[in-house]
């Protein structure tokens, strides 16, 4: 990672604020979430979403963190995370080289007139109806961030009573995986 060309970043890279998806493999023990989250608070990095779960190896968990910031800040975040004793590896997943998914659940106000439209919108995004009452309908949907943002916007026209999003999980596409030398 310390070959000189890495540091010939184009000037605009320092100005463009973009969202980055960081995938971390961490030791699975209580406190590791606090360590990582604590790092982000201490250095004032902006966490847009964070999700963590066990992997195929019970000793390791995978954390997926969506952060906003320009290239330089993201480089710092990656280096600071690597310093953490509990972090085995960290990758900045490129948009076109990885899959990203979120789960969202919405409870939407529904009347006899609007119910069909709402279900139609849900089916466009491959969502399903999880529950229904006389006045509301619960929609469950998975998709990438753009899709979840879109369905949120569309459903909010009807009045979203409550909603919950999980935050991104992401993995590199096997067809895009480079030989292991990404640190």
């Amino acid at each position: 990672m310390w070959r000189s060309p890495r540091f010939c970043l184009p000037p605009f890279a320092f100005i463009l604020e973009m969202q980055h998806t960081l995938s971390l493999l961490v030791r699975n023990h209580p406190g590791v979430l606090s360590h990582v989250a604590g790092l982000f608070t201490r250095r004032s990095y902006n966490i847009e979403s964070i999700s963590v779960g066990v992997t195929e190896n019970p000793e390791l968990s995978r954390m997926t963190i969506a952060v906003g910031g320009d290239e330089r800040i993201v480089q710092q975040i990656i280096k600071q995370c690597q310093k953490l004793v509990d972090v085995l590896s960290i990758k900045d997943l490129k948009y076109d080289e990885s899959i990203t998914r979120e789960l969202a659940v919405f409870t939407v106000k529904a009347t006899n007139q609007t119910r069909t439209e709402i279900i139609q919108i849900a089916s466009v995004f491959n969502g399903r109806v999880a529950d229904m009452s006389e006045t509301s309908i619960m929609i469950e949907v998975t998709g990438n961030q753009r899709q979840i943002d879109s369905i949120t916007r569309l459903l909010s026209q009807y009045g979203i009573e409550e909603m919950a999003r999980t935050g991104l999980v992401a993995l590199t596409f096997p067809s895009k995986r480079k030989p292991e030398n990404t640190k």
């Binding site: 310390w2 310093k83 640190k183």
Partner: protein, 557 residues
């Protein structure tokens, strides 16, 4: 062999070569203290846990070994936090052990319970809460490994009381293997070294900028050889003082906010900066966009996160400074460097035009004069510890340090009250060396209770208080930037002589210039803790000064 957790802890500390612990016992750590009593490990009882951890820092900074401190749960543990952050900022290897309420009481707001694990996450390099006595010996081995390897730092081990009492079979720890941590240490990129040598061959106005990393790495010999072979000037940060002899002709002294004018001008005018184990802190750079605009920067550091953090490095070299310098010196055999005669001529002009000076009238005790007299009386060979403030800057400017680990200062965090307990740690580490604390009246009063510790253990530390009755540095800023409105910076002064004598130490009051040197000489001969109260002018300022966020153009004085 069946042992209790407390016994396993002590055995593990012995296995790590721990010879002394600084601490204060309390309820939640009593089982450990009972085993410690006749364990063979020495213990220094401080009077405040902050004194314990600063003493452990003084011990670690002077010896290079891991400093160990111990406290009980709750307030004992939280009193360590300032020292933990201090050690983290200045990369000092510390292992802090705190007692904790029994595991079944954790989270119930028990007596003297504090979530020190949670509190110390941002304050340490790593921390542990031990919930299984079978893991304890491995935890201790890992803690010391993490504290002393790579970029050193503080590690905290929180040990609940029931774990201390739990009995299990003692198993020696396996060799420490932390894949998540070890993989961070990669090979040094030798191509970068070649590029660095190339840059050195092209440079006409090079400068070597040295930080604490050179001392931590033990690279002062290699640095000296590099400087002498290349004939490049050397400037050090506050943390780097002592890594290069201050009296050498190539030395530019300290740079930065209160550094010498010639060091700052040289940095601003250089076309190549070789940064060794330094992190371009804001006290050095001032306004980053105006800092060293003409220079190519070679940045050598063991911590990859420091590279490119503040300024962009043209040639980053990640690795241990000593190893990198060894490789560089080998390459230099075949390198052809230019002659820097013109550059040295320019530097000499600056040195002649802008030396460090201070007004030195006969009827005042000037703080800079006191530091110079201490330097002469100790032949520049004492271990000097300082607090934080104007006195710290005067000590850095006027005492010319010859050897690494002889200037002990809380540089990154700037903790007032660091000086005297750190001296305790230094004196315990080196009972036969002269240890001098140059302190301010504000800083000294923050940990003044440690006088009891120094006297109890017969530590003949000499304390020189540069007493102006003010929080000096704050007052200086109020004078320069807040129109002289001294908002709550006047301390007045207690009778330090009476206080010293009350603790069983020797006290001296010095109010005249002619008394300064004799007092220092007399203090050096007394085999006891000596407190010297030097009454200096109330409104003296540290110069030169580059205001915070300023550039060379704003330099005052």
């Amino acid at each position: 062999m069946k042992l209790t957790g407390a016994q396993i802890l002590i055995e593990s500390l012995k296995a790590e070569g721990v010879e002394v612990i600084f601490g204060i016992p309390g309820g939640a750590i009593m089982p450990v203290y009972d085993v410690l009593f006749d364990s063979g490990i020495a213990h220094i009882l401080n009077r405040h846990e902050q004194g314990s951890i600063h003493a452990a820092e003084g011990y670690a900074r002077t010896t290079g070994k891991v400093g160990v401190c111990m406290a009980t749960s709750g307030p004992g543990a939280t009193n360590l936090v300032t020292g933990l952050v201090d050690a983290l900022m200045d990369s000092t290897p510390i292992v802090a052990i705190t007692g904790q309420v029994p595991t079944h009481l954790i989270g119930t707001d028990g007596f003297q319970e504090a979530d020190i694990y949670g509190i110390s996450i941002p304050a340490t390099k790593y921390n542990y809460l031990v919930r299984d006595v079978n893991k304890l010996s491995q935890v201790v081995a890992e803690a010391f490994y993490i504290a002393r390897t790579g970029r050193p730092g503080p590690v905290l081990i929180d040990l609940p009381k029931d774990i201390q009492n739990a009995v299990t079979e003692y198993v020696r720890p396996k060799p420490v293997s932390l894949p998540c941590y070890d993989q961070y240490f990669q090979e040094i990129d030798e191509d970068q070294i070649d590029r660095a040598i190339q840059a050195m061959e092209e440079a006409e106005r090079p400068i070597i900028y040295v930080g604490g990393g050179v001392i931590a790495s033990g690279a002062h010999q290699e640095l000296y050889e590099l400087a002498k072979r290349t004939h490049m000037p050397v400037t050090t940060t506050l943390m780097g003082l002592g890594s290069f002899p201050g009296t050498d002709e190539l030395s530019l002294g300290m740079l930065g906010m209160h550094g010498t004018k010639y060091a700052n001008y040289a940095m601003a005018d250089a076309d190549l900066i070789i940064a060794l184990g330094a992190r371009f802190d804001d006290r050095v750079t001032g306004k980053v966009s105006e800092f060293a605009r003409h220079a190519k920067i070679i940045h050598v550091d063991i911590d990859a996160a420091e590279i490119d953090k503040i300024i962009r490095a043209h040639i980053p070299i990640r690795g241990d400074v000593r190893k990198v310098l060894t490789l560089m010196l080998k390459r230099l055999d075949t390198a052809k460097l230019k002659s820097y005669d013109k550059w040295h001529q320019q530097i000499k002009e600056w040195k002649t035009k802008y030396p460090l000076t201070y007004p030195n009238p006969e009827d005042y005790v000037m703080p800079q004069y006191v530091v110079e007299q201490i330097y002469e009386a100790t032949k520049g060979e004492a271990i000097i510890t300082v607090g934080v403030g104007q006195h710290q800057m005067w000590a850095a400017q006027y005492y010319r340090f010859q050897a690494p680990r002889s200037f002990i200062s809380s540089s990154g965090l700037g903790t007032m009250g660091f000086g005297f307990p750190a001296a305790i740690g230094a004196q315990v580490a080196y009972p036969n060396k002269g240890v001098f604390t140059i302190d301010g009246d504000g800083s000294f009063q923050m940990t003044i209770q440690e006088l009891a510790t120094a006297v109890q253990y017969h530590l003949p530390i000499k304390v020189a208080i540069l007493n102006n009755g003010f929080l000096g540095m704050v007052r200086q800023w109020q004078q320069l930037f807040f129109k002289g409105r001294y908002s709550h910076t006047f301390l007045g002064s207690p009778d330090f002589v009476k206080i010293a004598e009350g603790y069983g130490a020797v006290g001296m009051l010095i109010t005249k210039k002619a008394e300064v040197r004799p007092a220092i000489e007399r203090a050096l001969e007394i085999n006891n803790t000596v407190v010297m109260d030097f009454r200096i002018p109330q409104e003296d300022n540290v110069y030169p000064m580059i205001p915070a966020g300023g550039s060379i153009k704003q330099m005052i004085g």
